[in-house]
């Protein structure tokens, strides 16, 4: 477990560095195209560093608000509070803040920067569709993510990756706009190529990075979660129910999908699914749980 925590701290720094480099590169190309020169690269690098620093403290709030999560009062959700308090005792961690998303698609995620600033989010569909032992299995899985500091890395990744996606999107748009104005010189053809490559590569890099963020740690969180509940069938049943549910979760998007216990985006299929997927296949997770 301490290996997992150390690995996460290291990966978080790599993520910050990678983010600054990619944004600076985008800024460089943008600056050359628009005539700002190197100021583009320097400005972008500074902005990226500030954004990375801010994301350490504010990512959880950003993720909670873009997911439409609202604080779950104890009077309305006694069941959720009891389950979370019990598992916090089992894990020896402080009780995380609890949030709900008003959506009938069952799903859940955890966010925050450390166990003292952690939150668990569940959808109202999850509370309706799972029984107590299954819900405990899910909460225990999220508690394991909190314990391992997975939440810090994946939350910051969600925000930074979302930012890169926004930037490259804006970059492509501004190029199109620039072309229409005819303000570019023909000599910058090479830079345009680089720009296009960056604009295409950035989201792919972002996706591969997210994959590195998730996958194996889902297995680890499943196993450590079961260590808390001592009841593998609870989580296995929950995973089956969540993945069998046909409803899509509307508030989830590509930047936040990797946070959830089961991929909330259902439209992906075919070979891209296995290449870019942020989650290991549910059947495999269930099989490993049942074999415990």
């Amino acid at each position: 477990m301490y290996d997992a925590i150390e690995g996460n701290v290291r990966r978080t720094w790599l993520l910050f560095a990678g983010f600054v480099v990619v944004v600076a590169a985008l800024g460089y190309v943008f600056g050359e195209l628009t005539g700002f020169g190197h100021a583009g690269a320097i400005g972008a690098a500074v902005l990226a560093a500030v954004a990375a620093w801010g994301s350490y403290y504010y990512s959880d709030r950003i993720v909670l608000s873009i997911s439409g999560a609202q604080e779950a009062p104890r009077e309305l959700f006694p069941y959720l509070h009891n389950a979370a308090e019990g598992l916090a005792i089992a894990a020896g961690l402080p009780v995380p803040r609890l949030y709900v998303i008003g959506d009938s698609a069952p799903n859940a995620f955890a966010t925050g920067r450390d166990p003292q600033h952690a939150a668990i989010v569940v959808t109202t569909g999850l509370l309706d569709k799972l029984d107590r032992l299954e819900l405990e299995g899910v909460i225990a899985h999220e508690m394991a993510h909190i314990q391992n500091y997975d939440i810090r890395l994946s939350t910051i990744a969600a925000v930074l990756v979302g930012t890169i996606a926004l930037l490259s999107d804006g970059f492509l748009r501004s190029m199109r706009w620039g072309r229409r104005r005819g303000s570019r010189q023909s000599g910058s053809g090479l830079l345009v190529l680089v720009g296009i490559a960056l604009a295409i590569l950035a989201p792919i890099a972002a996706r591969l990075l997210r994959m590195a963020v998730s996958r194996n740690r889902e297995y680890l969180a499943d196993a450590s979660g079961v260590l808390l509940t001592r009841f593998p069938d609870g989580l296995a049943g929950a995973l089956e129910k969540i993945s069998a549910d046909p409803e899509p979760l509307e508030v989830a998007n590509k930047a936040t999908a990797h946070l959830y216990i089961i991929n909330p985006l259902r439209e992906w299929g075919g070979w891209t699914n296995s290449l870019f997927s942020t989650h290991p296949p549910v059947e495999e997770r269930v099989r490993r749980l049942r074999a415990m």
Binding site: P78, Y79, H81, N82, A83, E85, G86, L87, I89, A90, A91, G92, R132, L133, E136, A223, V226, L227, L228, R230, F231, P232, D233, M292
Partner: protein, 181 residues
């Protein structure tokens, strides 16, 4: 030459101090883990009178059951050692089970908001007891392992670090499941 001997003695002393401190840390962790259980047990004692009252309102003649619950509660509160506590709590769990069996026969009672609330609070508290017990027993296991392994066992015996008892207790709804990794 004597300098080397002094040096060696200082090193040994430091090593023994470190061992001793480690045992103290483990022992404090056990006390902390026990207080987690204690909080939840007390919460259960507090809920029981309300629950008995709620059931009495619909099934006043089931006096025997109420008496059993009240007696088991009093005995659990009075329990001394960890072992006694575990036994008394198991009795209390059993008596509560029969109380709920009685409640099953009164649909109006089961439908009342108050009863539903108490039932949720009680089962929530019971699962917290189970989790706290698990955490406590894991902590005791770690302490007992540390205490018995050489060379800590020398310190443990000299400084009266006695073995600690596991908290065994019959549980309400949860069946303990063996997990092998």
């Amino acid at each position: 030459m004597s300098l080397y001997i002094v040096g060696a003695l200082v090193l040994i002393a430091l090593f023994l101090i470190a061992l001793y401190n480690r045992l103290v840390v483990f022992r404090n962790r056990i006390d902390n883990a026990w207080s987690q259980i204690d909080v939840q047990l007390r919460r259960r004692y507090d809920l029981i009178p309300n629950l008995v009252e709620a059931v009495k309102g619909y099934a006043a003649h089931e006096r025997q059951v109420f008496e059993r619950v009240t007696e088991a509660r009093a005995r659990a509160i009075a329990a001394g050692t960890v072992g006694e506590q575990g036994q008394a709590e198991s009795m209390l769990t059993q008596s509560l089970r029969s109380l709920f069996a009685v409640a099953e026969n009164y649909p109006q009672l089961r439908a009342s908001e108050n009863f539903k609330h108490l039932q949720e609070e009680l089962s929530g508290t019971e699962s917290k007891i189970a989790f706290a017990r698990q955490f406590y027993n894991d902590t005791v296991l770690r302490y007992n392992n540390a205490r018995q392994s050489f060379p800590a066992v020398v310190i443990a015996n000299a400084m009266r670090f006695g073995p600690r008892e596991y908290f065994e207790m019959e549980e309400a709804a949860r069946e303990p499941v063996k997990v092998s990794f």
